[in-house]
């Protein structure tokens, strides 16, 4: 592996999408118009190709990957000879993230070509859409490639900006504008903590470079100069940011509303890539998190609680994209749970498989929405499997993977997390298992309601299968949703590849904490142990597989055959149903406790501002204006006057110096 190759790849991966975005933004409206997608597909596609090259380089390094910090250039001086550098950190984690991000992005951009037009006419804002997408890919790659916390923060905020712009893409629609604002504000809350965490890192270690910070932690813990309390504080502050970006409790409220954005955006940003930035960050900062038992416990609890909570809400929703949004929150909760129980490899593996099947589901939902003329409520249509055969087939595959149906990719990755959760604490494992059952149930509730039963479409809608630009990504993704699980099972290749990244952090601490993580990751390294531990290792696979099938059958029983059961349940426990259907009233709670008091405070401030502050400002601004007016009397035009003033000034200066 040569550093030069890695550096070149990294730069191309960054610049190609940016170039595409700039071209789309600058020339889109004037020249490219309906062909704008070509430049962005080109840019993002190039990035994907080089991401694979980079991946190959890392893979081929020593068979197990390496970690390289590659300085690009000095950016800003921090005074005292210190620099903030633009640098890449390339290791197996970076490689996995880059491949995931760029590959899914390419497919989504291709899909958007047809999605963003009606018939042959591009929607208004077609160019803007593609420019934003390119900008997003650039920002996300910068986030992942960056070799220090400053670049991480910049990328973090840049993807947030793109998310805001894309949620509010249909900004004339009040719901879209409100959703965009909500996403932005909720993320501000998290990012405030995130920023503080980074400041604290800089104060503590005097650098923001990943390698330097992590080495300093290792050193400080070894010789006892570093307090764990400080690390806990940093970890919890960083976690605030992760909760905002990855929509974990209690900052999850923005993600369901974010579905106001176009479906490709939901698939790419709000399911497959951006929302996983929190998982990436925690995995990257393993040295900080694993040093603090408190922080790890908090991560695990937040993850488990979110997974369970979001799954219950998803049981009662009727909007396909909202069901999928809550399912995303729930799956992200699984990933946090995995991180919290020291199974970072499994968390990243689930991130990887989830990206495929969740992007597939969102794009499938988008395809349904496209066919239904913008309607996405499962109560208004049904039996679509014959009308949209390809969409149905691919959606079904995505749903099976999400439900954890045996031998799909979701089955392997989710099961690993549950396995590790059990070895940390039985409660975590139990929550994981129950959530898995609910996941299978709500997923197939949606499938049966939308695709089975009597054929129904909303009035005046001419349903049609989507064109090849949309079907191609669906098919590629469904192959991925079926197949990528085998990268991690049964050979554990995926984990071996990531092992160097987590060796000193998650794996070492996990072993210390008495978890059987090492064993599970190395997957039966000892033959003698193998037979005895077979059930402890694979027993859970059978159990969760069976539960998943049972849940799907239950969903079939209720929604496919006997719909009255659902009505009966709803009627018999209206309070519980309403609680879930209204998402535990979290939004209402925030509205009462935070939004309204703040708004009242805001009104008071506006009053003060209008009368008190503006009055003061008026007085203050009068000073420079008055001075300016007085001085302008000197500036009247005749050149003799100017000459005289200059000469007088000079005389005054010389007098001042010689006299003083």
């Amino acid at each position: 592996m040569s550093i030069e190759t890695l550096k070149a790849c990294g730069i191309i991966i960054l610049l190609a999408p940016l170039l595409g975005a700039i071209l789309a933004g600058a020339l889109g409206r004037a020249a490219l118009r309906g062909a704008t997608h070509f430049v962005v597909i080109g840019g993002v596609g190039t990035a994907a190709v080089f991401a694979f090259v980079l991946f190959g380089e890392v893979l081929g390094a020593h068979g197990e990957g390496v970690s390289e910090t590659i300085p690009i250039y000095n950016w800003l001086t921090a005074g005292g000879g210190k620099w903030f550098e633009v640098e890449f950190l390339i290791d197996p984690l970076t490689a996995v993230m880059l491949v995931t991000v760029t590959f899914i992005s390419t497919l989504v951009v291709i899909y958007s070509r047809d999605y963003m037009r009606h018939g042959d006419h591009p929607e208004s804002g077609y160019e803007r859409f593609f420019a934003y997408l390119g900008l997003f890919v650039f920002s996300m790659c910068a986030l992942v490639l960056g070799g220090n916390f400053l670049l991480l923060y910049l990328g973090w905020e840049a993807v947030g900006l793109c998310s805001y712009l894309l949620i509010g893409f249909y900004y004339p629609k009040p719901e879209a504008a409100a959703a965009a604002k909500k996403a932005f504000l909720v993320n501000r809350v998290g990012d405030f903590g995130f920023g503080l965490g980074i400041f604290l890192i800089y104060i503590t270690f005097g650098t923001l470079n990943y390698g330097a910070v992590f080495d300093a932690i290792e050193q400080g813990l070894a010789d006892g100069t570093l307090e764990t309390g400080r690390l806990t504080a940093i970890a919890l502050l960083l976690l605030c940011g992760a909760c905002g970006k990855s929509a974990q409790l209690p900052l999850h409220v923005w993600l369901p509303d974010a579905m106001e954005g176009p479906s490709p955006v939901s698939a790419l940003i709000h399911a497959a890539t951006m929302v996983t930035a929190g998982i990436y960050m925690v995995a990257r900062c393993g040295a900080i998190f694993t040093a603090s038992t408190t922080a790890m416990t908090v991560v695990a609890i937040i993850g488990a609680a979110t997974a369970f909570f979001a799954a219950t809400v998803a049981l009662t929703q009727t909007d396909m994209k909202r069901i999928l949004a809550y399912s995303t929150i729930s799956q992200l909760g699984y990933m946090f749970l995995g991180l919290g129980v020291f199974a970072a490899g499994s968390a990243v593996f689930h991130l990887f498989t989830h990206a495929f099947f969740k992007a597939l589901l969102f794009l499938g939902a988008g395809s349904v929405m496209h066919a239904m003329g913008g309607i996405i409520d499962v109560r208004q249509f049904g039996g679509l499997r014959k009308l949209l055969p390809w969409t149905f087939l691919t959606f079904m595959i995505g749903a099976l993977a999400l439900a954890g149906f045996p031998f799909t990719s979701g089955f392997f990755s989710k099961d690993e997390i549950i396995h590790h959760a059990f070895s940390a604490h039985w409660l975590f494992g139990a929550v994981g298992l129950v959530t898995a059952v609910m996941t299978a149930f709500y997923t197939f509730r949606m499938v049966f309601l939308a695709f089975f039963g009597e054929e129904r479409v909303p009035e005046g809608v001419h349903a049609h299968e989507s064109g090849p630009w949309m079907l191609f990504p669906l098919i590629v993704l469904s192959v991925g949703a079926l197949g990528v699980g085998y990268l991690g099972f049964p050979g554990h290749n995926f984990h071996h590849f990531l092992e160097p990244v987590f060796e000193k952090t998650f794996l070492a601490h996990g072993a210390h904490a008495g978890h059987a993580v090492q064993d599970a990751v190395h997957g039966g390294s000892e033959v003698a142990k193998h037979a005895a531990s077979f059930w402890s290792k694979y027993g859970l696979l059978f159990i969760s597989g069976a539960l998943s099938i049972l849940a799907i059958m239950a969903a079939w029983g209720v929604y496919g055959r006997q719909p009255w059961i659902a009505d009966m349940v709803r009627a018999s426990a209206p309070k519980a149903y309403n609680l879930l259907h209204n998402k535990y009233y979290v939004d209402e709670f925030y509205d009462r406790t935070i939004v309204r008091p703040l708004r009242t405070l805001g009104r008071i401030c506006v009053g003060l501002d209008n009368y008190l502050v503006d009055g003061l400002i008026f007085v203050i601004t009068w000073i420079p204006r008055g001075l300016g007016y007085a001085l302008s009397l000197l500036q009247r035009g005749p050149v003799q006057g100017y000459g005289l003033t200059m000469a007088l000034g000079l005389v005054l200066i010389i007098w001042f110096v010689l006299a003083g």
Binding site: L76, G79, G628, I653, F656
Partner: protein, 532 residues
């Protein structure tokens, strides 16, 4: 020194001179006047000079190419910046003037740039004077040729008379320096170091001080600092926009480079009373410039006052000089050099916009005439906003870094320095002024973006892409230098070593302790000393 050094060392200057003459002669033929030949030749000439100066930089401490000239790292930097902005100037002036004096016009532009280059290399007070005048004289002509209406001659006459007066003051001051020092040579290379022959140090008497003050006064006219600034608003308003963009940069960089050389030749060992004069001029320039800009309705007058204010900011960096240490956040010389470079581009960007749009067949000038620009020409409006944000010192533009470097250099002067307190006060005045300045720059942005959404009410683009291309290049440069400031800082970094470097410490350790005329410069603190 051998015969060919005359030519090879000064190749960029020769290219400008020969190219200028070529343009001048070709301009006499009818066919060249009507086509795009002449602007194209000027662009190629500047580009060729730039390429040569980048490919063949001055190596080593200093090179004596010709009597009175000493090529140093400063030469390298000034060549790079002046020719780089010169390229943008050539673009912006592509369609200017429409009248028949195109050859003369473009030749004058090239000669003026030549003057800047020679100022950077001048090693003799007389050569310095001539170089500065070589900058100024062509600008008088440029203003006169720039447009047909009656305002241009008025501007020319004003600028010419006041300029002549300033030149007289400058020459008079230089004669005092000669009288005291007994030589007109500024530096000699001795024992492998560059040593000042003018350094009057603590032994500075009244005559030398008067000389310095007169020189400072004369150069203040070039940089448009209070109280020698009166011409700026009237002249800016009277000249056509592309020329105004040139007026904001070319005399200013020449003036500041000359000031750097004079301060360097004094080893920054200047009496406190003189420093207070510079302090007052800086404070007054920032404050008067900004408050008067608030009242203007004409964008060119706004920019004229803003130009005065920016000279004030740069004078802070000049005062700090190399005394606060090395590196971008401490070194005043580097801060000044960086700022003058970016100022040239961001200021020119705004004038390029004024030059490329018109209403009723007249170039836009009033702030109100910007309305509707964002709806009609989003790219131009965005580029304008980038340049204005840079002038304000907002992220993500190079202007932020420029201001940061200047102010932090003032703050990082060692506390034991006699002038530490006043410099901190000056930097605070500068910060307050940046806030005031935001008000009038934002008025321009608001006029372009918020006054109207109707493309029909917008100004109409003029024929030709030159000025608009120049505008976009200026904006890209401002963003690019924020992303990668080191690409410019790297070039400016060696300059202070040449100007002061070792000799600051050597001369100053020799300076007598007793100092009624307080010697500002002290041996640098250990950190920066070790970094050299």
């Amino acid at each position: 020194m051998n015969g060919s050094a005359w030519f090879t060392q000064l190749l960029p200057e020769w290219i400008l001179l020969i190219g200028g003459c070529l343009v001048l002669f070709l301009g006499a033929t009818r066919s060249a006047r009507s086509s795009n030949q002449l602007p194209f030749i000027s662009l190629v000439v500047v580009l060729a000079a730039l390429v040569v100066s980048v490919l063949r930089p001055v190596e080593g401490l200093a090179t004596t190419a010709a009597p009175g000239l000493l090529l140093t790292e400063l030469t390298n930097y000034v060549r790079f910046v002046a020719l780089g902005v010169g390229l943008l100037l050539a673009l912006v002036n592509w369609h200017q003037p429409i009248s028949s004096e195109r050859g003369e016009y473009l030749a004058m532009m090239l000669f003026s740039l030549l003057g800047v280059l020679l100022t950077a290399s001048a090693n003799d007070l007389l050569v310095l004077f001539f170089a500065i005048e070589l900058v100024s004289v062509p600008t008088y002509v440029l203003i006169g040729l720039s447009r047909d209406d009656s305002r241009a001659p008025e501007s020319t006459v004003k600028y010419f008379f006041l300029g002549a007066m300033a030149a007289a003051v400058l020459a008079y001051g230089l004669s005092f320096l000669y009288g005291v020092a007994g030589t007109t040579t500024m530096y000699v290379v001795r024992d492998g170091t560059l040593q000042s022959t003018l350094a009057l140090g603590a032994g500075m008497d009244g005559l030398a001080l008067i000389g310095l003050l007169l020189v400072f006064g004369g150069l203040c006219f070039k940089i448009a600092a209070v109280p020698f600034h009166f011409y700026a608003p009237d002249v800016y308003e009277g000249a056509a926009s592309p020329v105004t963009g040139l007026l904001g940069f070319v005399p200013k960089i020449a003036g500041f480079v000359a000031l750097l050389k004079i301060f360097g030749a004094m080893d920054w060992a200047l009496p406190t009373s003189f420093l207070w004069i510079v302090w007052l001029v800086a404070a007054a320039s920032m404050t008067f410039g900004n408050v008067q800009a608030l009242l203007q309705q004409n964008a060119k007058r706004v920019l004229a006052y803003s130009s005065i204010a920016h000279s004030g900011y740069m004078l802070i960096a000049l005062l700090v000089g190399p005394l606060a240490g090395a590196g971008p956040m401490r070194d005043g010389v580097l801060a000044l050099l960086f700022y003058i470079g970016i100022y040239g581009a961001m200021n020119l960007g705004v004038f390029a916009l004024l030059a490329s749009y018109q209403r009723d067949a007249k170039s836009i000038e009033l702030i109100d005439e910007f309305k509707g620009l964002a709806a009609k020409a989003p790219i131009a409006a965005l580029a304008l906003a980038a340049c204005l944000f840079s002038l304000m010192g907002f992220p993500p533009t190079a202007g932020l870094l420029g201001k940061l470097y200047i102010f932090s250099s003032a703050f990082s002067l060692d506390q034991s320095h006699a002038f530490h307190g006043p410099l901190v006060a000056l930097a605070i005045i500068g910060l307050l002024n940046s806030a005031i300045a935001a008000a009038y720059y934002l008025r321009l942005v608001a006029a372009a973006y918020m006054q109207s959404n109707d493309p029909d009410s917008a100004p109409v683009p003029k024929e030709g892409m030159g000025a608009r291309l120049g505008l976009v290049c200026c904006a890209v440069a401002m963003i690019g230098l924020f992303v990668s400031p080191m690409s410019l800082v790297r070039r400016a970094k060696p300059v202070d070593v040449v100007l002061t470097g070792n000799e600051v410490s050597t001369v100053l350790t020799a300076a007598p302790e007793d100092s009624s005329a307080v010697v500002l410069a002290k041996p640098l603190d250990s950190e920066s000393a070790s970094s050299r």
